[in-house]
């Protein structure tokens, strides 16, 4: 394991997720192009959102490796969950994720998405992000520096290019019941933000 990354942790790298079939030449080319053009949804949860402006602006300039920010989920390839996720945020994250077009990938930034981090005993912060949406890359740290985020992107590019591992969106499609069950466990039947929260006082 390289310092600063849980890239090769067991969760993501077990046998069942390894792709055994070989790629065709065209598929290889498509994956190569795909890895060089990653559109990131401009969305921040938690404190990790602070690390993104320097990553995207002139100091670290992640655009040189083909990573660009876009405004809406429908144009985005990558969702960065940048830090702790409360119930309320997670609902929006899931909704954004489901609106994104495939192929789509998730980068989870910070300890909080991995095991709850410093919010491990919080009553409304989730502990494992991968229970609710599939995660393609974890970048650990509290908070990870932009360099760590960039290395996470580079690793993710390598994964996309070599198609080493089943992408998250395929898992989400095929094991949808698993994710929906977990989401239902904490949200009840209002999985998506249905805007049917307790608005009792609104009518007065």
């Amino acid at each position: 394991m390289e310092e600063g990354f849980i890239d090769y942790q067991k969760v993501l790298d077990n046998e069942e997720h390894a792709i055994k079939s070989t790629q065709s030449v065209i598929q290889k080319a498509v994956d190569w192009f795909r890895s060089k053009s990653m559109f990131v949804l401009a969305y921040g949860t938690g404190c990790g959102a602070i690390e993104m402006p320097p990553t995207f602006t002139s100091r670290y300039d992640i655009e040189r490796i083909g990573v660009v920010g876009v405004a809406t989920p429908r144009q985005a390839d990558i969702l960065i969950v940048s830090g702790y996720c409360s119930y309320k945020t997670l609902k929006r994250v899931i909704r954004s994720y489901e609106q994104m077009n495939e192929p789509k990938y998730v980068i989870a930034l910070g300890s909080c998405t991995i095991n709850g981090g410093m919010y491990w005993d919080s009553y409304n912060t989730i502990k494992k992000l991968e229970d609710y949406i599939p995660v393609d890359m974890y970048v650990n740290g509290c908070m990870p520096r932009p360099e760590a985020l960039i290395e996470g992107f580079v690793k993710l590019q390598a994964n996309i290019k070599d198609a080493k591992r089943e992408a998250g969106y395929i898992k989400y499609r095929e094991n949808n019941a698993f994710y929906k069950t977990n989401q239902k466990k904490i949200f009840g039947d209002n999985i998506e933000p249905t805007y049917e929260a307790n608005f009792v006082g609104m009518n007065q």
Binding site: K91, N115, G116, W120, S122, Y123, K127, I186, G201, M202
Partner: protein, 179 residues
């Protein structure tokens, strides 16, 4: 200004620029109205709440600030935990809307007259308000979430810090003795 208020209330000086008065819960509106109109404490900067479960009261502090932002006045009052109701001060300070809504969500205090006491930060919360002290956060978390393996050997932070500091101190003393 403080002197003029001292004629009407018993003012306790908590710090150089912080004053406190303690009132009964029925006097809330009258007091805030009076202080807000007759003195320079014209802005409501915060409403805080402490849960004294042993005394079965919530202590609320309405913190008022002067126009120059150089003095704070805390208006403290106790309300019973089981019948936690207070009149809203929305008509005096519109910014109280969010503060009251927050207190309603976290402690279950009803502010009569505030129409916005619906879900705020917590959506579809079904338990008792989470900052009330009878709410067992750890039990709730253990029941609600599944932890990732690897936290079993976590140590008590305070004890561990103490132990490490003692070790470092010992090491330092040893090094100095060598010199």
């Amino acid at each position: 200004m403080i002197d003029s208020l001292a004629k009407h209330y018993e003012i306790e000086k908590k710090a150089e620029r912080l004053f406190k008065i303690r009132i009964d819960q029925n006097e809330l509106l009258r007091t805030i109205n009076f202080i807000g109109s007759s003195s320079n404490f014209m802005t409501l900067s915060q409403i805080t709440c402490a849960d004294w479960i042993e005394d079965e009261v919530f202590t609320l502090n309405y913190i008022l600030t002067t126009e120059q932002r150089n003095k704070n006045l805390m208006i403290a009052l106790d309300i019973p935990r089981d019948k936690s109701k207070l009149p809203t001060i929305l008509h005096l300070f519109p910014q109280a809307e969010v503060m009251e809504r927050d207190l309603h969500e976290m402690y279950g205090i009803d502010f009569i007259g505030n129409a916005t006491l619906y879900d705020f930060a917590l959506e579809n919360w079904k338990e008792i308000p989470p900052l009330r002290r009878e709410f067992d956060t750890l039990a709730y978390v253990n029941e609600q979430f599944e932890f990732r393996a690897g936290r079993e050997d976590n140590k008590d932070v305070k004890a561990e810090t103490k132990r490490r500091r003692a070790e470092a101190k010992k090491l330092k003393a040893k090094m100095e003795a060598k010199k």
